[in-house]
Amino acid sequence: MRYTPQTELDQKRMLQAIGLERIEQLYEHVPQALRAHATIRLPAGLTEPAVKNRLAALASKNAAAGEWSFFLGGGVYQHFIPSAVDAVISRSEFLTSYTPYQPEVSQGTLQVLYEFQTLMCQLTGMEVSNAGVYDGASAAAEAVLMSRRIQRDSRRRVLLSRALHPQYRAVIATYLKNLGDVELIEVPFAADGATDVERLASMLDDRAMCAVVGYPNFFGVIEDLSALQSACAGVGAQLISVTTEPLALGLLKPPGAYGIDIAVGEGQSLGVPMNLGGPAFGFFTAQKKLMRNLPGRLVGETVDTEGRRGFVLTLATREQHIRRDKATSNICTSQTLCTTAATVYLSLLGRTGLRRIAEVNVARAHETHARLIKEAGLASCFSGPFFNEFVLRVRDLARLEKRCAADKIIPGIALAQWYPELPDGLLVCVTEMNEKEEIDRLVRDLSD
């Protein structure tokens, strides 16, 4: 395929206008030694049908939801996405535009982002939201970096819950290790699967910068943010909540209701396909007093010269293109197309629809949980309350996974790879997309 429209005649005419004879003259000033070794050793281009065939062949080697039954969560969730979402984000004015640096011709994107920021505040109960970051993991890392900007140099201990998503903990460690002054300390989880608040309290002192917990956590357990917040606030540490399943916030008391400082998370559940885990977006919300320390893009309301309401990127003096090495972050994207999808998704579901979908998740997950224990004879791993994910103990997991695979079921995520202390732990997720018939088969296949 070719997307270069210049005909031979065009090229001739253009070269003539420039005063050259051959295209090669345009780059004669590039050193000869470099030009001599620039040959691209790749196959020739393909026709559109050939391109589609080649990609379809690759796609067919993956297990896709629909053909397979997924009981997979762990930070990426299979949810219903109304067709209208893709219709909106396929519009070229949203799809192909750049970051809205020219506000007069970017009011569409800017208003969407302002609505997105509002929706994230409403969902989290927090006061301010940025326009989005890469993903939940980098949102968590940026939250810790923000805490580092706010807290005194004497506070450089970060308490990471072991029940926080293991890949998020890994990304936080990667981001922090080169700054040299931050110490990461792991906080264990208790028998209910929640962060051990007593152990956390014993680790908190005037050296603590912040504590980071999942809400719900990696095991699906709903953390006691009230107890965690009072433990942190008591010693002047900040509490950061990290939500990988934001649909839960349609039903659960939001982080803002507990007075916590920074609430971040992954937004994929809100209208973005799984895409092997990306692209989606990270959301980043905080208390208003921390506004000027936020990383990333912010959209604010203003007026034009004739008094009409309009929106602009604002507080840009925090950002890399103005502040360079003094910026709050190096980020210069907000995953806008994905946050646009979330804005459309939440607008379509709305006040009653979001709650309904969240309730259906709770109902199906709890029914499945009960049946797997009662009918399949599996044991629950933790006792804490959960939203749509839970951990079971499954003896002889490998054999049962094979049995499920023969039935085109992926029953969950084996936890042993991250938690040697949970060798038979299986993280099972049930959403509104798991039909009764699939759940019946799951129960049957996991029965011994």
Binding site: L251, P273, N275, L349
Partner: protein, 496 residues
Amino acid sequence: MSETSPTKRNHSATPRLIFESGSPGRSSLFWPAESGGAAEHIPAALLRDDIAGFPELGELETLRHFTRLSQRNFGIESQFYPLGSCTMKYNPKVNETVARLPGFAQIHPLAPGELLQGALQLICELERMLAELSGMDSVSAQPAAGAQGELTGLMLIRAYLTERGTPRKNIIVPDTAHGTNPASSTLCGYDVIQISSNDQGVIDAPTVAKVMDEDVAALMITNPNTLGLFEKNIEAVCAAVHDKGGLVYLDGANLNALMGIAKPGQMGVDVMHMNLHKTFSTPHGGGGPGAGPVGVKDALRDYLPAPRIEKTGEKYNLVEDCPKSIGRVRSFFGNFGVLVRAYTYIVSLGADGLQEVSRMALLNANYIRKGLEKYYEIAYDEPCMHECIFTDRIQQKQGVSTLDIAKRLLDYGCHPPTIYFPLVVHGALMIEPTETETPETLDEFIEAMIAIAQEARENPQLVKTAPHTTPVSRLDEARAARKPVLRWEPGRTDGD
């Protein structure tokens, strides 16, 4: 583009916010309730009330809202978008079709590897294709964006040097660099030393040698640089860095100028990132998602982010055990959906098509440069690569600035170039047409720019008060920053 001297604003009503529309109880969702409410399973103390002020709309009115908003945006399929350093080329439709195949869009990163063989193969092959194009030895597709690619690259340098004794302290960054370069350096624990480009707009080896010592970890350089100029001393510059044991990082934002013309891997570059949303045609989406794969020479391969994907026999495996790796920079596999689009683009065009991309990008940029050189001052009188830079010195005499010229271009139905960047150019107008534009479109743009130059002479007020035809006129950015209003709140229904 519209007729000469457009001055009439399209007086469409200011759209409401989604929160100001709809009616209580309305929802687009049809989904029957299921037995067993949340209260049966989750303690009441953990549950929230309804979300006050959340949207309540039907499906058609929701679509109409967002369709109307979309009409207040410029986009590549409706306007010419010559935004310098951003490579706003056509985003092929076939990429979008392919990325939506269930075998790509509906797959889960924590499914067993044997059920993700197509995805792992795609990532692995894309990494190899990018390595071939850039002349680097290995590539990791994990970083989610160019800036994350930069940070990753600097971490690799830090890990490499640390193993050899010390991470060192400083990074050299030219004054023409993207703002992300110094910001990423700080985030990686380095201090920044800024150096100046010479009067030809490029970096000299002696300038680098003068600040280069054993405290310098790396030089970050962009080639072609943000002035659209090829760093012709690049080999000597790299040698000056290597002489003192430092490494060279290449910001690959402008790779669109180089395919089939020069490979960074041949220049002496040790680490680089590539922006798939620029050179490899994935859509910008109004500010993401993109992807910023990182390429390295063999000496740095062991430090690449984990996990790596490797082919053993006919099987693609995830290799988690990478003892020297800097670790993970992103969850899962990065922005896989973006990788699918870039892969599709590369196999669509093939070797010849990709070389043609860079050649036509150069032709288009030089054509604009020639067409405007009599009307606007050229920043550097050197042959340009894929973009050309002008100053506003001529127009400034009439009191017309780059900002005014940019805003006036909007009235001609054209997105402005990148403005006031790079910082070393007075009132920079940085124009990158890309290869996907026809000469007719370039001619229309040149005519519009010439018309604005004439307006600046004859009716500067018309230019200084532009835009006149956009849905809103110039916005009060100072007010937005002074008293930030970053969200709608219930009870507030107008602009204030």
